[in-house]
């Protein structure tokens, strides 16, 4: 299979405009003859559904939540980037583009990233017009802050709840179209198969989570905006229901999976407290602007943090990176914390944590300063740990946060299955090997509001569609397949719960495919995961029936897919014999312990083709060309 990324020619700043001009259009009166199925209602899905419906397409939208507003985009805290240069500090589209390519450690497509930077300003305009209450200055204009190590202030924010406000904005645009009858919402439906007719994606098969019935939805094109797969690690900052099933099952139907091993580990999360922990909670990395990270110099220092004198503390980030200090990128901060804990210098009851200390800032600027900037985070920390971080330092540890990998898409966001488009975190496209702060919201909304409305029109205009309904053999087969899989799961009637298997998988993923991997650990994972998978299919126990609301069954479908996806992640990580961004191979590092890329051999997107469970997947490569931002060793010293 030859991957065609369809990147237009010409200078980078003209590519998108030229491309848009050449995309075919559909007569306004004819748009209503087309139906698009949108799966997922987060930032990407809701904005796409609303924008397509406004254009006149009929939109069917599906979500596994009870309401579109519950999608996990809602939990994003920090903000959204746009190079508006409102702060006059030298920002530009080109600088955002440059920062994003560099931050992604030169594993993203230049053309996609440039387009993202180009449309990001319109996103802010759009959200403000919807009534999103962004933070403002006293003069009434929008406020910006610097975020995630950027050297310009380009981040727009709504307190610590930017994701919530943006999602509710996109949701409001979508419910407006529901009101107009152009969007039909089917909630509590989980997509569990993609239907391909005559080589084109024509619909999806779902399980109705309330009554268990298998339902099909037909359209002329399908959009997956189903988020990331970080929950393959069991513990992550993702919501409990986040999963990779929609993308994984599309992958099994022929869509290639791009860079599955690129996972972002976020440095400032609340550490695990016990084996009962169900998820990890992220605290905005803006905390690193005012907090200092340290560990005791001596192993097993039993003293309270506040009793350890300065001379016995190691502010290791400040020591190792004098110019960036505590503000190094996420991947670097995370890895260093893990190293400290691996050396036995970790703190707290589990020894898997480092201190994030605000004492100096409190001494300098007063408690009120911290309260105003981070009050809600300190409250949340107290809520979860029962500790007062104004008095003693916070304990933090890295946690899985975002997956840069996802289904491979071309410049039009179309997967290798014609007519199936993938948006937001679900695709692999814009962040390379590491995502910068405040750019996930940007990408989700760019895809939904400003890219898919053009590119899907071209697809629909360029193709002929034979009328299809749910009685078509392809739909019937998919329904039967899903029904059989569900019956099989219900029939195992073993002894272990779904959570048991998920935890077992998560442990292998974290230990062997986590923040730092090597050939040995990855080979171990490739051996272990199929073993767990086999046990799962022999010994899982799902109570109740498949004919009604059954959360254990929902989880079982998701974990069944994670048990296959996890193996692919390990294979991808094993084959990529270099370190880059969130992918850190112990064998490939500089003398200072930084990620060591191999641009000669690995400057490509790894796109994997499914060949069957227990079969080795096929690797396809999309070479990456860097014409504008020349790859260099990242340095934050």
């Amino acid at each position: 299979m030859k991957l065609n990324s369809k990147i237009p020619g010409g200078p980078i700043e003209k590519k998108w405009d030229d491309h848009r001009f050449h995309l075919k259009l559909i007569n306004p009166a004819n748009k209503r003859k087309y139906t698009v199925v949108v799966v997922g209602t987060g930032l990407a899905g809701a904005s796409a559904a609303a924008s397509l419906a406004e254009l006149g397409y009929n939109v069917i939208t599906l979500c596994y939540h009870e309401s579109p507003r519950r999608a996990h985009s809602i939990a994003a805290q920090g903000g959204i980037n746009a190079p508006k240069n409102y702060t006059n500090d030298g920002d530009s589209v080109y600088r955002l583009f440059y920062d994003t390519v560099k931050g992604g450690d030169y594993r993203a497509r230049e053309a996609n990233v440039y387009r993202l930077a180009q449309v990001s300003g319109s996103i802010i305009d759009q959200c403000v017009a919807q009534g999103v209450p962004f933070a403002r200055e006293y003069g009434g204009l929008l406020d910006n802050r610097s975020f995630g190590g950027a050297q310009v202030s380009r981040t727009f924010y709504a307190r610590g709840q930017t994701g919530q406000q943006l999602l509710l904005g996109a949701y409001s645009a979508m419910v407006r179209q529901m009101d107009a009858g152009k969007v039909k919402l089917f909630a509590r439906r989980e997509m569990l198969d993609l239907v391909v007719v005559d080589g084109k994606a024509r619909g999806v098969v779902c399980r109705n989570l309330v009554n268990g019935s298998i339902e099909s939805y037909v359209g002329d094109a399908v959009i997956l905006a189903t988020g990331g797969y970080g929950n393959v690690f069991y513990l992550s900052t993702n919501a409990m229901m986040c999963n990779g099933s929609a993308t994984w099952r599309a992958h099994k139907k022929g869509a290639l999976f791009g860079n599955p091993c690129f996972t972002q580990i976020h440095p400032t999360c609340i550490p695990v407290s016990s084996g009962h922990q169900s998820k990890l909670t992220l605290m905005s990395e803006s905390l690193r602007n005012d907090g200092r990270i340290w560990v005791p110099k001596a192993k097993d220092d039993k003293r309270q943090a506040t009793d350890i004198p300065e001379s016995d503390r190691d502010y290791y980030l400040e020591r190792l990176y004098p110019s960036f200090g505590n503000l190094v990128p996420r991947d670097v901060a995370s890895r260093r914390a893990k190293e400290m804990c691996d050396k036995g210098l970790g703190v707290g009851p589990t020894k898997l944590a480092v201190y994030l200390d605000f004492a100096d800032t409190i001494k300098r600027n007063g408690k009120e300063y911290i309260e105003e900037k981070y009050g809600n985070l300190f409250d949340m920390y107290q809520q979860i740990t029962g500790e007062n971080a104004y008095v003693s330092p916070m304990r933090i540890y890295p946690a899985v946060h975002y997956t840069m990998g996802g289904l491979w898409v071309d410049y039009n966001l179309e997967s290798t299955i014609p007519g199936m488009f993938v948006l937001g975190e679900a695709n692999f496209s814009d962040h390379g090997a590491n995502r910068l702060g405040a750019s996930a919201l940007m990408q989700g909304l760019a895809d939904g509001y400003f890219i898919i409305p053009y590119t899907i029109g071209d697809y629909l205009a360029s193709n002929k569609f034979t009328p299809v309904d749910t009685s078509h053999a392809a739909f019937q087969d998919a329904e039967k397949g899903l029904s059989a899989m569900t019956k099989k799961l219900m029939g195992i009637n073993g002894k272990r719960t779904v959570d048991d298997f998920h935890k077992a998988l998560g442990k292998v993923m974290w230990d062997d495919v986590g923040m730092a991997r090597d050939a040995k650990s990855l080979k171990n994972a490739i051996k272990e995961i199929p073993r767990i998978r086999e046990e799962f299919w022999k010994d899982v126990r799902i109570p109740g029936s498949d004919g009604n609301f059954n959360q254990e069954l929902e989880k079982a479908h998701r974990v069944a897919d994670f048990l296959e996806l996890g193996e692919l992640m390990a294979r991808d990580a094993l084959h990529r014999k270099e370190s880059c961004g969130g992918h850190f191979r112990q064998e490939y590092q500089t003398a200072d312990g930084e990620a060591l890329r191999d641009d000669k051999k690995f400057s490509y997107v790894a796109a994997w083709e499914f060949k069957g469970v227990d079969k080795t997947p096929a690797l396809h490569k999309e070479p990456l060309k860097f014409e504008y931002v020349k790859p260099a060793q990242r340095s934050y010293k």
Binding site: R70, P133, R176, M240, S278
Partner: protein
């Protein structure tokens, strides 16, 4: 600190919408005070499944207090005993060894039970459809800084916009009124210039939909404000009343 506690749980079990429900008692040993309330339920569920019983169904997702999915009525209060905290952020250290905890679903006729502790809140989406938006198309909007909005106004709009749509206001209200939920959205958009053009229809249509869904009327007990995990103020209800009366009378 992490000494283990023993808890007696009384949980509402109801097989489906039209089935009869009742409280079932479960004895839960080995509860760690560091567990969240939902992690305690996870533990109970894993035990039940291993014993061959059906797991307790409950809605939850982000477990960070922002998605609004979790919805438990704990010991007679929406989201349990703490102020300004959603169920998912409630931890077992808020209870004591030997406690009996009663867990029920939200109860209101527009929130029918789906199973056990899970209810159907789609009525909230239908209310939002009836005008909980500003009619702008994608593209074709002015520059974000074209309309200055005083910081105090933007902050007040944000306070209202912080609503997570969990329905605790309805669950806590003796009349099952949704006024706090509706007023939060109406207020946000009434305060901002962007919402001004449609403020009249918005107030009228959203209230009409709220009534049609079968929510009760507000009798100003302010239980909603007291139980709201985001501490949305009842001054928003006053503003909704004003907006509505203005739309109808002026």
């Amino acid at each position: 600190m992490s000494s283990s506690m023993k808890i007696t749980l009384k949980v509402w079990r109801q097989a489906e919408k039209n089935a009869r429900g009742r409280l079932m008692t479960y004895s839960v040993p080995d509860v760690s005070p560091d567990m969240s309330f939902l992690e305690m339920l996870d533990m109970v569920n894993n035990t039940l499944v291993r014993k061959g019983e059906d797991a307790i169904a409950f809605d939850h997702d982000c477990r960070e207090g922002i998605c609004g999915t979790c919805s438990l009525y704990i010991n007679g209060r929406a989201h349990g005993p703490l102020k300004g905290v959603a169920t998912c952020q409630l931890h077992m250290r808020s209870f004591s060894d030997g406690d009996t905890i009663v867990v029920e679903p939200w109860r209101a006729s527009p929130f029918p039970v789906i199973k056990d502790l899970v209810v159907d809140r789609s009525s909230f989406d239908r209310i939002m459809q009836a005008g909980g938006y500003v009619s702008v198309r994608t593209g074709g909007v002015p520059d974000a800084n074209a309309i200055p909005i005083p910081k105090a106004v933007a902050d007040e709009a944000f306070d209202a916009a912080a609503c997570i749509g969990c329905g605790a206001c309805v669950a806590a209200c003796k009349n099952s009124s949704a006024m706090l939920f509706v007023s939060a959205k109406v207020s946000q958009l009434a305060l901002l210039p962007q919402g001004n053009a449609e403020r009249r229809q918005r107030a009228e249509r959203m209230v009409a939909q709220m009534d049609a869904e079968g929510f009760g009327s507000c009798s100003n007990t302010y239980a909603c404000e007291a139980e709201c995990p985001k501490e949305i103020s009842v001054s928003n209800i006053a503003r909704l009343n004003r907006e509505f009366i203005r739309a109808k009378v002026l």
